[in-house]
């Protein structure tokens, strides 16, 4: 698990009803794999991946995959605060998951305050739509109405498939780029006591130099 150098770390949180595909989306994004079966998330799980934004700045995305199940709701609320971005995830084949999006958004806004996160509206499971109607999968949320909702609320919108990988990357890069842009314009700052954005070289205790010295000593000896 080698972790190369990065310039910033953004903390993004994925929220949405259970079984819409948050964990699968993350699994594909970080592993490039699709799991046919997966256990429901307990509380929160973590994923991480380094990407590059347009000017080549390396960003480590620390992704908080929350449990969608109702019983974890009170727990997951505790985790919102330190996020700089939130992906509102719904299943294009599940109408109610889309209808709950405004609630998820309100909840996120309330708990992330006073910070204003970057939101993205992410539709999942587009691979189920279309060709194979025998499985009973049917699009219940049109791309247009999702787009309209996104525009009304100033969100980015993207439809993805964790099975084919369609737009998975874009969904995260979209948010990362927007966060980065807001850093550039000065809207977002690295703040003590808030972990939404961190600088990459700020490793705890900054002990790198001590170790460097140790290394040098060693190389002269051997």
């Amino acid at each position: 698990m080698v972790d190369p150098i990065f310039d910033y770390q953004f903390r993004l949180i994925l929220i949405g009803d259970s079984t819409v595909g948050k964990s699968s989306l993350l699994k594909y994004f970080t592993d490039g794999k699709f799991a046919e079966l997966s256990d429901p998330t307990v509380g929160v799980d973590f994923f991480a991946r380094i990407i590059e934004v347009q000017d080549g700045t390396r960003i480590k995305l620390q992704l908080w995959d929350t449990a969608g199940q109702e019983r974890f709701r009170s727990i997951t609320k505790s985790y919102y605060r330190n996020s700089v971005g939130a992906l509102l995830v719904y299943d294009v084949c599940n109408r109610s998951s889309f209808e709950h999006i405004p609630l998820w958004m309100m909840e996120a806004k309330r708990h992330i305050e006073p910070h204003r996160p970057v939101f993205a509206l992410v539709g999942c499971k587009v691979d189920l739509v279309g060709t194979d109607n025998k499985n009973g999968a049917r699009r219940e949320v049109s791309c247009e109405e999702a787009r309209m909702f996104a525009e009304e609320n100033g969100l980015h919108h993207v439809e993805t498939s964790a099975k084919t990988g369609q737009n998975v990357e874009q969904a995260f890069i979209l948010v990362a780029q927007e966060v980065y842009n807001r850093i550039q314009t000065g809207e977002y700052k690295v703040e003590d006591g808030w972990d939404g954005i961190k600088t990459g070289f700020n490793r705890p205790n900054g002990m790198d130099f001590n170790l460097l010295e140790a290394e040098t000593v060693q190389s002269t000896c051997c």
Partner: protein
């Protein structure tokens, strides 16, 4: 550069309002200066075996007016400075008296030469030599004092035309340098005087200087003496070269001395300026006066060196990260689990406080007691508390299985299905690595594995506590005492596991046939240090679960 600084204006006015007072003061202080100046230059003079004469001359010094007259040039400069100061009205008051004082100093320093020349020129030829540089000054002075008996001096002096011109050139150079120097001081120091004005003045000085011999009254004098000159000039003709040399060297000395003086003036001026203007350094920096312009190649070289260094640092950092416990701990997601647990713990603590506030006063004490009891249950047992379960674990069980068994037993009453597999799997992997070690494995490799192994074990433990806390919160039926006991036992097992790991790693390190025992010891110390670190993290995580256990009881 019109300075809008009103302070400057004020102080400038101030300076002019009481010039006499200041002048006097400065003269007093400058006399000290000139004393030093004289004594500094005395050795030089004695080299010329003139010291006695000089002293005589000094005492005799007909302090007449020759000093003043001889230094007409300086006066001009002085005026030039003053005019230039007045014209732009920007100079700082301190400068005026100071520069004047310094010029005075120069003058008094130069009195010696004047006197010296005067007295000596009648005595002998050797001694007349120094007269030459002064002669041109003398000429001007004679213009004002035609009565002075100068005939023989003038006689040959005039004849030695070349000498005179050399001397004059020397002096004029000096004067020019003095004026330039002063103007430089002014320019760099204050940046105030109008350059045009300065230029005009300096041109004037240039014109008047080489021609100081030709200034009208002098010219007439010279003409008067012309007839009597020829004989003596023949007489001393052969001395010309020697004389010229001397004059040259004197000129050099004069210049050198003058430059020293200038340096002193400059330094002093800057001191005074800085005293009067504490922000000067800042201003200078702002105006870029201090920055010596770097050469392009130099810049490029430095840039390259910097880039190389950065590359090296990056590489070194990458390398260092491999054995940096905290970084590894972060990479294994231990840190984020710990953070999440902290967030959870904080929120639960708040919720408990809320409940405490909301409870009726008579119940509040009960709640507090319950909280305290739970906290006591969660205290770590004494070190020497030998666990009896330990004995019951079969000897022929593999180490990972034994660990799994211990973890299971510790948490059997918690009422949750905890995931120990990641820990077991990781332990198995570490053991396999240690067994597959051969003689080629370096101590550094072992050390790396130790640190990363400990970091990963700790990270997995963080995840275990975090997940356990989350599951406890969604558990339907809480059993506080069991939960507290289970988590305490779990903590004991995990910390023991950590120290066992550390022991296994350090055993491998100390049994390594490495020559570098010191390095081995360093590594061993570090491994134990990180093991201690790991145990702290684990105990800390355990304490963070306390509010989560407590909330089940209240």
């Amino acid at each position: 550069m019109p300075s809008s600084d009103s302070d400057d204006f004020e102080s400038a006015d101030e300076g002019r309002s009481s010039p006499n007072k200041r002048e006097r003061k400065k003269r007093l202080s400058s006399s000290n200066y000139s004393d030093n100046f004289e004594s500094d230059h005395e050795p030089q003079k004695s080299e010329d075996q003139l010291s006695t004469k000089l002293k005589e001359a000094t005492t005799l010094s007909n302090k007449l007016d020759n000093a003043e007259d001889g230094w007409d040039d300086f006066d001009i400069d002085n005026e030039a400075i003053e005019t230039s100061k007045i014209v732009p009205e920007k100079t700082i008051s301190a400068l005026k008296p100071e520069s004047k004082a310094n010029t005075d100093e120069a003058q008094s320093g130069w009195d010696d030469f004047d006197d010296w020349g005067d007295n000596d020129n009648s005595d002998n030829i050797q001694d007349t030599q120094p007269e030459q540089p002064l002669n041109n000054q003398q000429q001007t002075s004679t213009a004002k004092h035609p009565d002075q008996p100068k005939s023989d001096g003038w006689g040959w002096g005039w004849g030695v035309d070349s000498i005179l011109s050399t001397a004059t050139a020397g002096i004029s150079t000096l004067t020019t340098q003095v004026s330039q120097g002063i103007s430089t001081v002014l320019e760099t120091g204050i940046g105030a005087p109008d350059p045009e004005e300065l230029a005009k003045k300096s041109v004037k000085t240039h014109e008047s200087n080489p021609n100081s011999t030709e200034s009208k009254p002098t010219e007439s004098e010279e003409k008067k003496f012309e007839p009597s000159v020829n004989d003596s000039s023949f007489q001393f003709g052969n001395l010309l070269s020697g004389v010229t040399k001397f004059v040259e060297s004197t000129g050099t000395k004069v210049i050198a001395g003058g430059l020293d003086t200038l340096e002193t003036i400059g330094k002093k001026t800057m001191e005074v300026l800085q005293e009067g203007d504490p922000g000067l350094a800042k201003k200078k920096a702002l105006l870029g006066l201090d920055t010596d312009k770097p050469v392009l190649s130099q810049v490029l070289r430095e840039a390259k060196a910097k880039a190389d260094e950065e590359d090296l640092m990056r590489e070194a950092k990458r390398e260092a990260k491999e054995v940096h416990y905290e970084t590894l701990f972060d990479d294994y997601e231990g840190l984020v689990h710990l953070e999440a647990l902290e967030m959870l713990s904080r929120q639960l603590r708040m919720r408990i406080d809320e409940r405490l506030r909301a409870a009726p006063p008579d119940k509040r004490l009960d709640i507090k007691e319950t909280l305290q009891q739970v906290a006591e249950l969660c205290e770590m047992p004494e070190e020497d508390d030998e666990d009896e379960d330990e004995e019951q674990i079969s000897e022929d069980m593999s180490k990972p299985d034994a660990l799994h068994e211990r973890l299971q037993r510790a948490t059997r009453d918690i009422g949750l299905k905890l995931q120990f597999q990641p820990l077991i799997k990781q332990y198995t992997e570490i053991l396999t690595w240690l067994e597959s070690m051969d003689s080629d494995t370096t101590i550094k490799a072992i050390y790396k594995k130790s640190v990363s192994g400990l970091a990963q074990t700790t990270a997995l433990s963080m995840e275990l506590y975090h997940k356990t806390a989350e599951m406890l919160l969604v558990k339907n039926r809480r059993s506080t005492a069991d939960e507290a006991d289970a988590l305490t036992q779990l903590t004991v097992v995990l910390t023991k596991h950590i120290s066992e790991l550390a022991t296994q790693f350090t055993e491998k390190l100390s049994s390594h046939p490495s020559e570098d025992k010191e390095q081995v010891n360093n590594y061993i110390t570090n491994v134990f240090l990180e093991a201690g670190n790991s145990s702290k993290y684990i105990e800390n995580a355990f304490q963070l679960t306390l509010p989560i256990i407590q909330i089940g009881a209240v």
